[in-house]
Symmetry: C2
């Protein structure tokens, strides 16, 4: 816990305090230009007691900021729809673009503490939740975010006074929630939960700052200082490499690509019979997972012209169109590039009971972004762990995760490229970029082998699809999905 | 109502039908490449009775489509949050990008018909709703969308059989909703509402196609034909100019920019006193509109360096940070440019009780896009009416709409540009583009005058802010907002 030398401020006269406030407010307004230039994204999480003045504090803080470069988000309890996504999903959605501020009027702390107080967690669930939050915040900081966490503390007496005051006027009484009243009634229960949360999530990279909310100007002054210092610090250390942790996840041993046999095939007759059988099975399973609320995430990666598109189509044509979505992933749009690289995947996750198919995925980070230099070496080396953390989170949430590397050999790719070039209705499928990528085959193979080795966790292993024969590959993929779903349903039945 | 020559198909043998289906399915798959090349966006709205086979029909239709180029959206009843936005908002959100399909499993028809059956409309409200839907569809078509509207009809007998069948298996019984059962029970009430809706929204540009859902293959075949013909037709007429309707909205007479006096100013003392008074008033009003659920939309346009930013800041610093958002509007991102030009504004509307401030707006269409040739002449000439329709919709919804043209003269702009260039912390505010725009001042003045003349409706008039003196301008703007909100509250109290 850090902050401003409070003793000294306490001694200031009202006028001195006013001048000091004006000064730091001006400093922040200037600093605002710097974060824009340096592309620093800033998250200010303001948590605290009901009626502690969180909203007022934020209103003060933004007073001299350019409204084009910040957003204030009042975070409400999750809706029914939001509850059908992983807990962190809606919080991840709120993160700012590089060069902008987001002020959150409560967030993942309040949501979690209320669940704690309401007794909605088992011990294990709470442990997982707190762990996930620490990972979330650490990933943000490691990816260049300044995460400033403020807890506005007020005594029970002051909280009660303020609530009574709000209740006395019909234009403000709607601001008082049932929860606010409950906090007063069961103060010690909430106190315990708030401290447990703060204790468990007070990390070096994203420490808590507990601010006394009883004197609003002092609180404001402290937060200004925290913000200005935090920004200075973040800018200073912006491009420093981050320590890359050792792997902590259970891994499955995988073969190297060159050791995967590709001389497997199916006759057209066998293929047709197998496909029909598998599609019927998958169709039934789709109903089951919907009913049981199991989310399914299917990730496709593979060589250009390996047959991903046709493979996906055989999968989706067995599915009820209302229960799945295919997300084609191209290079990120501007508003995506300006955020954590996993943001555009967090925001495309399926609801419980639905299937999301990704045609190319978050693994772009350790393939194309690595090889084309779109991110730093430290970025992609760190990404293996970050991605494993991401998938662990999804797996803990209950998702079935199936990851495909659709594999062909270099000769097969060449003949498919040539076929595309000579077939009018396939020409759109082949671009100069495909040829350029082909030249880097060997580099890609190194990257893919490393990726498969480091991210084949027991909860989200890679499956190498043998796709020199597309028919074989389609049956292999669809059966892999069936097996994964059946395994999950079996566990759930126990 | 159009379709396929049904008599002829009825006579086909099962094998002939199968071959025909295969053929048209192939045609659609090929056509899919064409819509991508021609950048045609296609909306297929599938409405109909519960258990009429809408979902199955969509699943068939997409079977041979490339999953990267379509999306199936099952539209559910609106959530509480969605109900705090205009009715069309969530439907507008679902429209596809150019070159892609969206298949909607029910949409604005079902939502409206259920409201009709449940008696949630007064006569006037229903009339407005149906009118809004016609405008919505017409705007989509005029802006290059193919809107294909299918109603899948089945007899009461077949509907009941299918529902009983679904109910008999626990893996499918969840598909049957209370509403489905109600449709059977009160068949004639629903029949009446469905036909009234179809009758009122069956337009030349977006006609209804009623399909017999009792024979699935025949239904599928008909829709394929509708789709293929619809796409051919849309591509053929893609770049033809659209007829521009006469103005139908009540207009306020506005002065030309050159007739607006700019020699008004305030002393610093008067400004400070006035600002304090106005901000206090606005603060109280913000509580009131929140409580009464009134949405407020404030649109800022104006010359470069007219002082929009500072003006907005004085407004927002009076507001509770949790109840407003400032939307800075720059040139559209790729996913925005690929949709109806109002899409990115529809998706940024405030909830009831909230304030949305737009720093630059949808009027870009008739200013920068007109002058830089980013849209066709027909596009921007049509936009006056489209924008008036948009704002009328928001006004009918209950929104307060305040539109500002922040006005300065050419000399004032020059001296502010120069000041920006010579002040280090303001240099980021001035770019080459600003200088280029300045060269086109006269063209802009013509466009702005035309815009103000044609879009100053009684429900959303322009306010010209005299901003040679920024202090005067700020007080003028904030008081205009206060007046508009007070006028609205007065009407609501009656």
């Amino acid at each position: 816990m850090s902050g401003y030398a409070e003793n000294e401020i306490q001694k200031l006269s009202q006028d001195e305090l006013k001048n000091l406030l004006k000064k730091v407010r001006g400093e922040l307004a200037v600093k605002q230009q710097v974060i824009k230039e340096k592309n620093l994204p800033v998250i200010v999480l303001v948590e605290g007691w009901g009626a502690s003045g969180k909203g007022t504090l934020i209103s003060y803080l933004i007073r001299d900021l350019d409204p084009r470069f910040f957003q204030v988000i009042p975070v409400k309890p999750p809706t029914k729809e939001e509850k059908r996504k992983p807990f962190l999903c809606r919080h991840m959605e709120n993160i700012p673009e590089a060069g902008k501020f987001v002020f959150l009027d409560s967030g993942w702390m309040e949501e979690t503490v209320f669940d704690m107080v309401d007794g909605r967690f088992s011990d294990d669930e709470l442990k997982t939740r707190l762990h996930d939050i620490n990972i979330f915040e650490r990933q943000l900081v490691d990816n260049g975010y300044l995460v400033l966490k403020i807890f506005v503390d007020v005594s029970k007496k002051i909280q009660k006074e303020r609530i009574d005051n709000l209740l006395s006027d019909k234009d403000t009484s709607w601001r008082v929630s049932k929860r606010d009243l409950d906090e007063i009634k069961h103060r010690s229960k909430y106190e315990k939960a708030f401290s447990e949360f703060i204790g468990a999530t007070n990390t070096k990279k994203a420490p808590w700052h507990v601010i006394d909310g009883s004197k609003k100007q002092l609180a404001e002054l402290q937060v200004y200082h925290l913000l200005v210092n935090g920004m200075d610090n973040a800018i200073k250390h912006k491009d420093e490499p981050v320590e890359i942790p050792d792997n902590v996840f259970p891994l499955v041993t995988m073969p190297k690509l060159c050791d995967v046999p590709l001389d497997v095939s199916l006759t057209k007759e066998v293929y047709k019979a197998e496909l029909k059988k598998a599609q019927n099975k998958l169709k039934k399973l789709h109903n089951k997972i919907y009913r049981m609320g199991v989310p399914v995430i299917i990730a496709y990666e593979g060589w250009d012209a390996a047959g991903k598109g046709g493979n996906i189509k055989r999968l989706t044509s067995a599915l009820d169109a209302r229960g799945f979505a295919v997300n084609p992933i191209a290079s990120p749009d501007v508003h995506e590039k300006n955020r954590h690289y996993l943001w555009r995947f967090w925001t495309r996750l399926p609801k419980t009971g639905h299937i999301a198919i990704f045609d190319r995925t978050w693994y772009g980070r350790v393939m194309v972004e690595r090889l084309e230099g779109f991110c730093s070496e430290n970025d992609w080396k760190r990404a293996y762990n970050e991605i494993n953390e991401f998938e662990k989170n999804l797996s803990d949430w209950g998702a079935v995760i199936v990851k495909f590397w659709v594999h062909i050999d270099k000769d097969t790719q060449l003949s498919r490229f040539k076929e595309r070039e000579s077939t009018p209705e396939k020409q759109w499928k082949i671009t100069d970029e495909d040829w350029r990528n082909r030249e880097k085959w060997d580099d890609y193979e190194i990257a893919v082998n490393e990726m498969i080795e480091k991210t084949s966790t027991t909860f989200a292993p890679w499956h190498i699809i043998q796709s020199n024969d597309k028919l074989y590959a389609r049956i292999q993929a669809i059966n892999t999905v069936i097996d994964a779903i059946e395994a999950k349903l079996k566990v759930l039945k126990k």
